[in-house]
Amino acid sequence: MAGFLKTEAGKGLALSAPASLYVGLLVAGPLGILVAYSFWTQTYVDIDKTLTWANYIEAASDPLVRHLMLRSIAIAGAVTLATVALAYPIAYFIAFRTQKKTLWLLLITIPFWSSYLLRVFSWKLILGFNGVMNSALLTTGVIDEPLTFLLYNEFAVVLTLAHAWAPFAILPIYVSLQKVDRALLEAATDLGCSKLERFLRVTLPLTIPGIIAASLIIFIPTVGDYVTPSLVGGSQGKMIANLIQVQFGPANNWPLGATLSLVAMASVGFVAILFVVTTTALGRRIR
């Protein structure tokens, strides 16, 4: 045994054992239970453990599920797009235009020092009927009555999440920008490129891995987010996770909830793979 631990493979296994054990017990295990549940049926007081596709058939045929799933993906897509688009210039600034990189990176993590719930709630205070935004606009006379389209809709969800995720997008993009050899930029200039062309033909394609990482980090958890839509989403901002929560809570239909969770997972996986493949392919076309 001691001999085995001295080999490369042994060392590798020993090092990864705690994490593997943790993941095995606390992720793979529950996932297995979820899969099992999705093939069972809820009776009034009990679970009927006869295997059946009924839940999947219901999930596929219910227009509400499809609607919420598509909306979740659309909202997550919008959040990802908004966050990456806002994060890229900031990451670019830190990587290329300032000497105080550590200070800026520290400042960017400041929102994390307060609770996520608190931050979502703050947006509620800012966007609400009597919120900061409306009060300010009313006082300055820009509007006569409070704007109601600010809160309790998809817009509020996108805005809140784009803010919450910003550091998660900035960091991977910053890392990929930081890795770009400055000599490559000079080479592009030397070969006749203006600054914009240089960005589009060298910097952007070289930072695609960072963009992909940032997008996945944001997109995947956003599709399944449940807190933000509950707090600022209103009825038009409800997402698939809210429906899943209902199944496990008030509706007390765990098998259907489990099925919806797995369907959501599969959909996210599909969209994510599609995104990675198309983005990589697009990046290869830049010459």
Partner: protein, 368 residues
């Protein structure tokens, strides 16, 4: 090479804060010339090159390329292209697309681009490697791609920043010859920055030797070797023994001198020296000294001393001879004709020198 000046640089200066990187830099380069800027690291040679390329602006003076003043012309519009020290091969593009990078800006047809890329790759002996990925290239291949990528733009001037320093010795020597041949065939002006004296001497039509931001001497390699303008230049290129001397009389481009250790000799006045004086510094190349156990015949100056060190270099043997009346041991290089090492430490030997081998390096107090 013809007599047309392609680059005219006049009194250029560059400061970084309080540090003056380049000062009073004036240089005219002929069309089709292979010119090297040679100097130790930090002497300002790369800054000078980057000012020509347009990556660095200059604080004073003028830079003209092809008769056009460059002050308001950004790097991407200049008729120059550069081979970077790190080669700067675009890692997301294959070899063909790297070489085609600049061409795509010129509004050429696909077929034209394809032909020019193929020709450029053939030229650097990488024909057919268009689809090779950047990370699959060896150091020498990367260097060739960088060269092809710059030359395919048909620049008036090709700038090379230490282009061979990342290669191992054998490959470097091959590339030196190849680049020289390529340059002569294309007739494009090459400006190369290097800290390697041999590279500069073997490749260049002319060399500019730089120290502390100043161009000390610009001339053909053989002239810089034979008639360096001062101690700094003399010691940077080739080996050199430095001896003190005193002028006892002069006239007609020659002067009588009393050289430390060797005594009275008559030597040529070096036209490249800027500050002459009575108290002189003179230099003797190690390979121009004769050494023997007996006093050799037919020399103008002699010195007797003791061998203090012997260094075997393969193609030559270096003896270091300590003599009364001299400060440092005098180095003598003897070609290894007969596979013999004739003297050993502690031997008493004679050194002989011809008048013509003594190089006047100017007034002693002017030397850095």
């Amino acid at each position: 090479m013809n007599d047309q000046n392609i680059i005219e640089i006049s009194k250029v200066e560059k400061r970084f804060g309080t540090f003056t990187a380049v000062s009073d830099f004036s240089l005219d380069l002929k069309e089709g010339e292979f010119f090297s800027l040679l100097g130790p690291s930090g002497c300002g040679k790369t800054t000078a090159l980057r000012m020509i390329a347009g990556f660095q602006d200059h604080d004073a003076g003028t830079i003209c390329i092809g008769g056009q003043e460059m002050a308001d012309i950004p790097a991407n519009k200049r008729p120059t292209n550069m081979v970077f020290q790190s080669y700067a091969i675009f890692p997301h593009l294959n070899v063909g697309d790297n070489v085609a990078f600049g061409l795509r800006k010129l509004g050429l047809s696909r077929a034209e681009i394809k032909t020019r890329v193929a020709d450029a790759l053939d030229m650097v002996e990488l024909g057919g490697l268009q689809s090779r990925k950047a990370d699959e290239l060896s150091g020498g291949q990367r260097q060739r791609v960088a060269l092809a990528r710059a030359l395919v733009m048909r620049p008036k001037v090709l700038l090379l920043d230490e282009p061979l320093s990342a290669l191992d010795k054998n490959l470097r020597e091959t590339m030196q010859l190849e680049m020289r041949r390529l340059q002569q065939r294309l007739g494009i002006t090459f400006v190369m920055v290097t800290h390697d004296q041999y590279e500069a001497m073997t490749m260049s039509d002319r060399i500019g030797v730089m120290f502390a931001g100043k161009l000390e001497q610009v001339d053909k390699p053989e002239v810089i070797y034979a008639r360096p303008c001062n101690r700094q230049v003399a010691s940077f290129i080739g080996g050199m023994n430095f001896l003190n001397a005193r002028m006892t009389g002069d006239g007609g481009g020659r002067m009588d001198v009393d050289v430390q250790g060797f005594g009275a000799l008559t030597i040529d006045v070096n036209p490249n020296v800027r500050i002459h004086g009575t108290d002189l510094l003179v230099g003797i190349r190690p390979e121009q000294l004769e050494i023997g156990a007996d006093r050799p015949e037919g020399y103008d100056g002699y010195l007797q001393g003791t061998v203090s060190d012997v260094a075997f270099y393969g193609e030559s043997v270096h003896y270091y001879v300590q003599a009364p009346g001299t400060d440092d041991p005098i180095a003598v290089a003897v070609p290894n004709y007969f596979h013999t090492v004739d003297h050993k430490r502690g031997d008493t030997v004679w050194l002989g020198v011809q008048n013509a081998s003594i190089i006047d390096l100017g007034a002693r107090e002017s030397q850095k």
